[in-house]
Symmetry: C2
Subunit: 263 residues, 2 copies
DNA sequence: CAGGTAGTGCGCGATTCGTGCAATGGTGCG
DNA sequence: CGCACCATTGCACGAATCGCGCACTACCTG
């Protein structure tokens, strides 16, 4: 606390808050030998800088900023994704090995899966950071990460390491995310590297499910496509355009329309 | 909001808080058509259930509970780990490919690395979930995850997938964590599976650094050991017992003692 | 129909928050 | 060396928030 204690004290506050998980104004003012007023001022500054979050009697560490964008995407069409996730989890049976692709819909699936306690001895292979995080430390589920270079945007694993990992695995079911889905072209992504990997994933699965809510059907926002296996199932929700759904069924694709639950 | 809106409303509160990141009491009471009192009561219940965290004027999503234990471990001997991390980062040069083992000390290293802006074109291979999370979305750093089964306790990748991934890589420097270090026996871990993997990591690195603060020196809490390469460097801090340090130097191990910084 | 349970709105005292104001200490310039 | 200047801190006061008790309603149950 020698020369300019202000900056040092703020670092110390951040440290205490992030390590203990919660630091009260009283504790801080006592521990650092300054008035509660000063602590409040510090907390205001640190909150403005985005270094921690303010609570009623003190401060707590901030939720990881990278999760924010994901939460937001998960929030869009939430009920649709929730419905799709519930249907998907309902077809999974104990003892199976399943693949979870990266994406917000598959993350919703992971969250539902975590809370569905009736499944045991499940092995879940995750291709994304967020799905892995959602399932970490879930009893009865072995989580296996694909590995590879971490694609900044989608928090997904890509690259040769991911490809070679897939070559050593196979799955009872693969749940694929998509930027958009087309009846004949299949899964559309922004990145070619991504689509190649998705093809490999699907080729190793006994059955492939593409989870995509209504708004993703029939669009072609990008120009990288993943070739689909001969048989696959599209899981969408009741917001899907019946015409679009019909187009998929005409192409021989099994289509499941998940109902939004009553609650 | 038909029959028993209470439960539904609370789910909705959780949803809004987790998706928007922050929900104020006023917004919630307005959006849900109930008094601020009721919202407060709900927030109290939900906080007690551990479903979200209370802030001054509202609520926010909870920091992931798995991070809590890590934060705590990082908090123990914080200054020591910080000093070690700073020294370690100072030897890294632009363009290198480095390996970061799992563990709290290596996570501290990752955090320092993230804030050290003067390095470019770095490739960091991470063997743990926390180190990966700390480096995600850092400019100038390619993050590569090892992959494999996620060990619940240490949040580390283990198993055949991790081993085969390592076989395809090599590193300029490997920074290894350890439960404890011994001058002749090397790295001690709770798990044999873990030690085998660590040996493989070190065998692929041009140079191996073991980052371990003073308290970890010379102990033998478990009975699984990783055989060390012929040359390796122990990076510890000034809290290390000089006698223990001497033992390492006698065994031909290079020992770096990181000074705790002045601030 | 009586009784119990859960939920809600309202109002009050207690706590906490934010800010203006004066005092202190360190810094730079003439 | 003197002096103006700036940042920081402590203190006090008005404002906002919080927690809780109380009364009322709705619903289920015996």
């Amino acid at each position: 606390m020698a020369r300019d204690g202000a900056q040092t004290r703020r670092s110390e506050i951040v440290r205490l808050a992030t390590t203990t998980g919660l630091a009260s104004v009283d504790e801080l003012s006592d521990h650092l030998g300054v008035t509660a007023s000063t602590i409040r001022r510090d907390l205001a500054k640190l909150t403005a800088q985005g270094k921690l979050a303010r609570t009623y009697g003190g401060a707590m560490p901030l939720t990881h900023p990278t999760e924010a964008s994901l939460r937001q995407r998960l929030g869009e069409a939430f009920t649709a994704k929730q419905a799709i996730a519930r249907w998907a989890v309902s077809v999974i049976e104990s003892g199976e090995t399943i693949l979870l692709d990266a994406g917000s819909t598959t993350t919703a699936l992971a969250q539902v899966l975590k809370d569905a306690g009736d499944l045991t001895e499940l092995t879940v292979v995750t291709a994304g950071l967020s799905t892995m995080g959602a399932l970490a430390e879930t009893d009865g589920i072995d989580v296996i990460a694909l590995g590879g270079r971490l694609r900044t945007m989608s928090q997904a694993f890509v690259g040769p390491l991911a490809e070679s990992a897939i070559a050593r695995l196979s799955f009872d079911r693969a749940f694929m995310g998509a930027d958009s889905v087309h009846p004949e072209r299949g899964i559309c992504e922004a990145d070619l590297e991504q689509t190649l990997l998705k093809e490999l994933m699907m080729s190793r699965a006994a059955h492939t499910y593409v989870v995509a809510h209504g708004a993703k059907l029939g669009k072609s926002p990008f120009h990288a496509w993943a070739v689909m296996p001969p048989r696959w199932t599209l899981v969408t929700d009741e917001s899907a355009d019946p015409v679009a759904v019909h187009a998929f069924r005409d192409s021989g694709v099994e289509v499941i329309i998940a109902r939004h639950s009553a609650d």
